[in-house]
Amino acid sequence: MSVLDPVVELARGLWTTLKMMVEKPVTYQYPEQKREVRPRFRGRHVLKRYDNGLEKCIGCSLCAAACPADAIFVEAAENTDERRFSPGERYASTYEINMLRCIYCGYCEDACPTEAIVLGDNYELSFFDRRSAIYDKAMLLEPVQTPEMLTPQKVEPGKYNRRSVPEMKDPQD
C-alpha cells in the first residue's frame, strides 16, 4: 500500500482494459461460423437405425412414460416379414415429439431400451406456428444412405423373431 494508491489503482484498471483491446475477440460469427457442440450436448432428437437400415425403435413407449414434460406420443403396430420396420415384434407407427413442450432433459434417451432415441447436435429449432413444432417420425428418423435401406423392408421369413433385437452395449460417452 502506498499513498498514491487511489490513483495507481484507477490507472491499473484503465491499463487492464486497454490491454484487452489488442486481444483477439472470442466472438463466433454465428450463422456462418458455427461452434462445435460438446459430445454430450442435448439438441434435437434423432431416431437411430441399425446398419442394415432397420429402425432401432420398437414402439415400447418407455420414452413417453419417462418424459417429464409429456412431450412424446408413441403408437405401436405389429411388424410383419412383408413390411418390417424394426427387428423386434413391434415398431412405432406414430412417433411425435412436441418441441415446444420438450425441455431437453434427455430422460427419453435414458429410458430407451434399444438406444433408438438420441438427443443430437441440432439446436437451430424455430417454428412459425405451434402445429409445426410437433415433429413427426419422418422428421426425426435418421436418413439412410441407400434406397434399399429404407423401411419398411421385405425380409425373408423367420430371419427376425421377437428375440432378434441386438443386445445393448454400455453407452460410450
Binding site: V3, L4, D5, P6, V7, L10, G13, L14, T16, T17, L18, M20, M21, E23, K24, P25, V26, T27, Q29
Partner: protein, 391 residues
C-alpha cells in the same frame, strides 16, 4: 450589416453544417462506442449492417422511428411531450460558439469557420450547459413514475454539485487566455496547450464533464440496477431517441469544448507547427493560392474522437460511484481542489506580470501537480480512516 442577406445566408448554411455534423456525429458516436466497448470486452460489436456495421445507426434510427410511443396514464402530457425537446435543444445550440477552423475566401468574401465569436463565449457555454438539466428534471417529474422522479432529482443534484468545479476549471482557462472568447483561447494556445500549463485543471474539467453529461462512472441518474433507466424510464420510440441524441451530442460538444479549452482547439498538434500540416500554412498551385484552412475541422475532429475514446474507455473500466460518495467527492474534493487551482493560476499570472519573470508562470504546473498529489494523499488518508473504522 444585418440587412446584408448574404450574411444571413452564410450564418444559415454554417448553422446547418453544425447541426448536420452533430446529428451525424451522434449517429456514429453510438456506433463508435459500441465497437470500442466491444473490443475492450473481447467482442466484435455491430458488424452486420453494412461494412464494419457502418449502417447500424441507420437501422437503429428506422427501428426507433417505427416503435410504438407510450405515454403513462397519469403523466403530465404537455411537459412529458416537451421535456425531450428541452433536453435536446441546448445540446445543439451549445455548439454555436465552438470555433472549428480559421477562415477561407470564397465568392469574394471571407468566410470564418465558426458560427459566432461572442466575447463571453465561455459564459454562454456554462449557461447553456446548465439549462440542459431542466429537460431531465421535467422528464423525470412528468413521467408519474418514482424511478424516473428519483433519476431526475439525482441528475439535478449531481449537476449542481459538479457545475462548480466545472465552472472553476473554465475560469482557469479564462485566466490563462485572458479572454472569454473561445477564439482568443484557441489563439492563446498556439504557443503551448493549456493542458501543459494547468494539467490538474484539465483533469478536474474532465471529471466534471463526465458528471455533467451523466456518463459512467457518474451515470447515477440512469443507474439501471437502482432506477431501471432513470428519467427516461417511461419514454419510448422517438421521444427516447431524443434523450439519447441529447446525451450523445452533449458528449461530442463537451469533448469539443475540452479540446478548445485545454488541447489547442482546431490548431495543429505542437510538433506539426511550422510544417506543411499547420493550419496557417499556405501554398500556391498554379494560379490557386490555398491556405490549410480545411485542416482546422480535421484536427478538432481528431481531438474530439480521441477524447471520446477516453470517455468510452472510462465507461468500460470503472464501476459506478455510490451516490453519497459522488456527492462528497464533488463537494469535498473537486470544489476545494478547483478553487486551489484557480488561485494558483491567478497568482502565478499576476506574479509573472509583476516581477517580469517567466519563472512564476512555469511554476503553475508544478505547484498545481503538488496540490493534486496532496489531494490524493488526503483521499488515501480518508480511505484508510474509513477502513480502520470498519474493522
Amino acid at each position: 450589416m444585418l440587412s446584408d442577406w448574404t450574411l444571413w445566408l452564410e450564418w444559415f448554411i454554417k448553422a446547418l453544417v453544425v447541426i448536420f455534423a452533430l446529428l451525424t456525429g451522434f449517429a456514429y458516436l453510438t456506433w463508435y462506442e459500441r465497437r470500442a466497448l466491444a473490443r475492450i470486452q473481447s467482442r466484435i460489436g455491430p458488424n452486420r449492417a453494412g461494412p464494419f456495421g457502418l449502417l447500424q445507426p441507420i437501422a437503429d434510427a428506422v427501428k426507433l422511428i417505427f416503435k410504438e410511443e407510450l405515454t403513462p396514464g397519469r403523466a403530465d402530457r404537455i411537459i412529458f411531450f416537451w421535456a425531450p425537446v428541452i433536453t435536446l435543444v441546448p445540446s445543439i445550440i451549445i455548439a454555436a460558439v465552438i470555433p472549428w477552423g480559421t477562415s477561407f475566401t470564397a465568392f469574394g468574401r471571407n468566410i470564418t469557420l465558426y458560427l459566432a465569436d461572442i466575447n463571453v463565449g465561455v459564459l454562454y457555454l456554462m449557461s447553456i450547459a446548465s439549462i440542459a438539466v431542466y429537460g431531465i428534471v421535467l422528464a423525470g417529474w412528468s413521467s408519474n413514475n418514482k424511478y424516473a422522479m428519483l433519476g431526475g432529482l439525482r441528475s439535478s443534484a449531481q449537476m449542481i454539485s459538479y457545475e462548480l468545479a466545472l465552472g472553476l476549471s473554465f475560469v482557469t482557462a479564462i485566466i490563462l487566455a485572458n479572454s472569454m472568447s473561445l477564439l482568443e483561447i484557441v489563439k492563446e494556445q498556439e504557443k503551448v496547450w493549456f493542458v501543459v500549463i494547468q494539467p490538474v485543471g484539465a483533469v478536474i474539467f474532465w471529471i466534471a464533464t463526465l458528471a455533467e453529461v451523466n456518463r459512467a462512472p457518474f451515470d447515477m441518474p440512469e443507474a439501471e440496477q437502482e432506477l431501471t433507466a432513470g428519467y427516461h424510464s417511461e419514454y419510448s420510440g422517438m421521444k427516447f431517441a431524443l434523450f439519447f441524441m441529447a446525451e450523445y451530442q452533449k458528449m461530442i460538444v463537451i469533448c469539443a469544448i475540452a479540446a478548445t479549452l485545454y488541447f489547442g482547439g482546431f490548431r495543429e498538434f505542437w510538433f506539426l507547427k511550422n510544417t506543411i500540416f499547420s493550419v496557417d500554412y499556405s501554398w500556391t498551385l498554379g494560379s490557386w493560392h490555398i491556405t490549410n484552412w480545411f485542416l482546422g475541422p480535421l484536427y478538432l475532429l481528431l481531438k474530439v474522437v480521441l477524447l471520446l475514446f477516453g470517455m468510452i474507455w472510462v465507461r468500460a473500466t470503472w464501476p459506478r460511484i455510490r451516490y453519497d460518495r459522488l456527492m462528497s467527492f464533488g463537494w469535498k474534493v473537486m470544489l476545494p481542489l478547483s478553487l486551489a487551482i484557480t488561485f494558483i493560476t491567478a497568482t502565478g499570472i499576476v506574479f509573472a506580470d509583476q516581477f517580469q519573470s517567466q519563472l512564476f508562470f512555469w511554476a503553475i504546473p508544478f505547484v498545481s501537480i503538488l496540490v493534486g498529489l496532496f489531494t490524493v494523499v488526503m483521499i488515501y488518508r480518508e480511505l484508510r480512516r474509513k477502513a480502520y473504522e470498519r474493522a
